[in-house]
Symmetry: C2
């Protein structure tokens, strides 16, 4: 079994009857059938994937399922954020129903965040909830979106406004598939890895400052960084599964980040999610410094590390230019983390000391944005 | 407060942090605003209703909300089962998002089962779950669909195949609105009332045999019958919220009933849900008698009561004719209560002694159907 390999790690997410394992390691995909058969005996599966990932990895997964005696059907969607919409949801739902899968059967998400969010939503609503397995193939999905049960699609009103909380029965992160990930995408995913250090794990952030090159090179350090990230997210989700409190800390950098994504029309040629988060985290520290919450030394340190790995940290680095401060504030106000009109922000007192700040006056945000645009 | 009235009753559904009250009584709609304000302080609401119900009751509800200082927006859909589909779901979701409601705000379902199922689903997926309030206006919805958290829509593959479990924060059943319900619809809803007696409350069934005329006439007996039904359903839901076991007993009469609805093309001119359930319950008893599980006396007694209130109990009573036994079996096999190919039926050992029978051979069902078609 692949877990015997030196580089494989397991993280347990403890959520009572919804508890599950996250398996992380090189080459795990070839043992996927066995892992599923052990956890969901007798289940059949629908593999939801996108055409790019299908070409690279679907065959290996289907073979592994075959070996374990698991019947599977594959449903492929177009790659990209555009697939997170009602029409595609309906198509995938139809595919799962056409395969006559039942409540005890499983939907497998084989792909990045888009596939995971969409397939998870499907598994949460077909027959009022089927089983769900995450097989994330991007760094972003392995360290963030595949863990914690948030699923959803976008609407004209905003991103992820429709969805359910649907915990997977298993997350299987084959780190070997990252070897073929484009550099830019790996870097963007790394922003979320750094985020866990910045939220409440200063030692992990220090470790990343010293070892990021090895993480980017692959091997033991990469598995370690991903497992640490999953552990950090698992801890947060265990404390607050439905995001009524502390889980909001995971949005560090995301309020500014989402506004930047919206302001660039979700055009991945200009800005991808992780890059928005990198700039957002830098701004969250800088904003905290401006409010005298966080020392400028810490803000400089955070910016230096993100810069070192090649991530953007300022608004000026977004190609094609951005709207002014007031328009950016509008985008922030439209974000779903606005609670009854008051602005909720994740601010920080320093590296690894972030906190949820409610009732941040929009005037403060505006004047900060004016100072950095 | 209306609860001081002699005829008002309260049933509590105990589901830990998802617990809620069901309020039942004449004239409760006029106190709806107060009840919501007490349970969801600060919440705004979207009222989802259909054009028929809106004309009859929306004004009274909006006034009551206004009085309690609750801002509301009304989203009206076309009446009828056809509205339980993806396109209408998308429209209502859009309406709720356009009103900029947040996670702490509520969707109110004001209407029958269609409105409740659709609005509940919407409330379960917008922002990954908003608050939800049921205000059922049909007998069927008051005694069945508004309690227990099942929501959903239909697809080409079958009814209620897409949805979520979403418990309401409050069910408010104004029994006065039943005064204007067409006789046929009240009778159809009564089939579900009788069902609770047949499942496991023989004393309630005996009470209904003696008091059904008073129940149909309205007043104290009607409130009592509805409250007893809600209590019976609440007990079942408390035991098995997600239908992994006993809750399936609530499907007594529904396996045959759903097949009849499908076989008549869901044409309400020919057969409405409650009528299908009435025939289904009679058949479930007759089938149990054929299997020597239930005495023919009990089957005759059940048929006699359903007949007395004016409900159909045989296949011959479905206007327009039905397909043969084999085709009816096909419809049964397509029903979602088929678990991994084996047929699950609710059978009975007599009035109030029903049980879940797994692995019922389809050959037995077929030869039974051949004997009654």
């Amino acid at each position: 079994m692949t877990l015997n390999q030196v580089t494989a790690q397991k993280v347990r997410v403890n959520l009572a009857e919804r508890s599950y394992d996250i398996l992380i390691g090189d080459g795990l995909l070839s043992g996927a059938g066995q892992e599923i058969a052990a956890r969901l005996p007798g289940a059949r599966v629908a593999i939801v994937t996108d055409s790019n990932v299908a070409a690279a990895h679907a065959k290996q997964l289907v073979q592994s399922l075959d070996l374990a005696g698991i019947a599977s059907t594959t449903i492929s969607i177009a790659p990209g954020e555009r697939s997170k919409r009602f029409e595609v949801l309906q198509q995938v739902v139809d595919g799962v129903l056409s395969a006559r899968l039942e409540r005890g059967d499983a939907v497998i998400a084989l792909g990045g965040g888009v596939v995971g969010d969409l397939a998870g939503f499907v598994s949460g609503i077909v027959r009022r909830g089927m089983k769900f397995v995450q097989m994330p193939t991007s760094l972003l999905a392995q360290v963030d979106s595949s863990v914690g049960g948030k699923t959803g699609i976008n609407t004209a009103h905003g991103k992820n406004l429709i969805g359910v909380f649907q915990q997977p029965a298993l997350v299987l992160a084959d780190t070997q598939v990252l070897d073929t990930l484009p550099d830019r995408e790996f870097r963007a995913g790394y922003a979320e890895v750094a985020k866990y250090g910045l939220i409440d794990r200063p030692d992990f952030f220090t470790w990343l400052e010293r070892n990021w090159q090895a993480v980017f090179a692959g091997g033991v350090e990469r598995v370690h960084a991903i497992a640490q990230s999953c552990q950090a997210k698992a801890d947060m989700v265990e404390r607050d599964e439905y995001e009524t409190g502390d889980r909001a800390l995971l949005n560090l950098g995301h309020t500014f980040g989402h506004a930047l994504e919206a302001a660039t029309g979700y055009d991945s040629a200009r800005l991808v999610h992780g890059e928005g988060v990198a700039i957002g985290m830098a701004l969250a520290h800088r904003f905290s410094s401006r409010l005298n919450l966080c020392s400028m030394d810490d803000t400089t340190r955070v910016e230096a590390h993100l810069r070192a790995v090649g991530l953007p940290v300022t608004l000026a680095e977004v190609p094609g230019g951005l709207p002014g401060a007031e328009r950016l504030l509008d985008y922030i106000m439209q974000d779903k983390k606005v609670s009854r009109g008051a602005l909720t922000f994740i601010l920080t007192r320093g590296v690894g000391q972030s906190f949820v700040a409610k009732d941040v006056p929009s005037s403060e945000v505006l004047s900060f944005l004016q100072s950095v645009t």
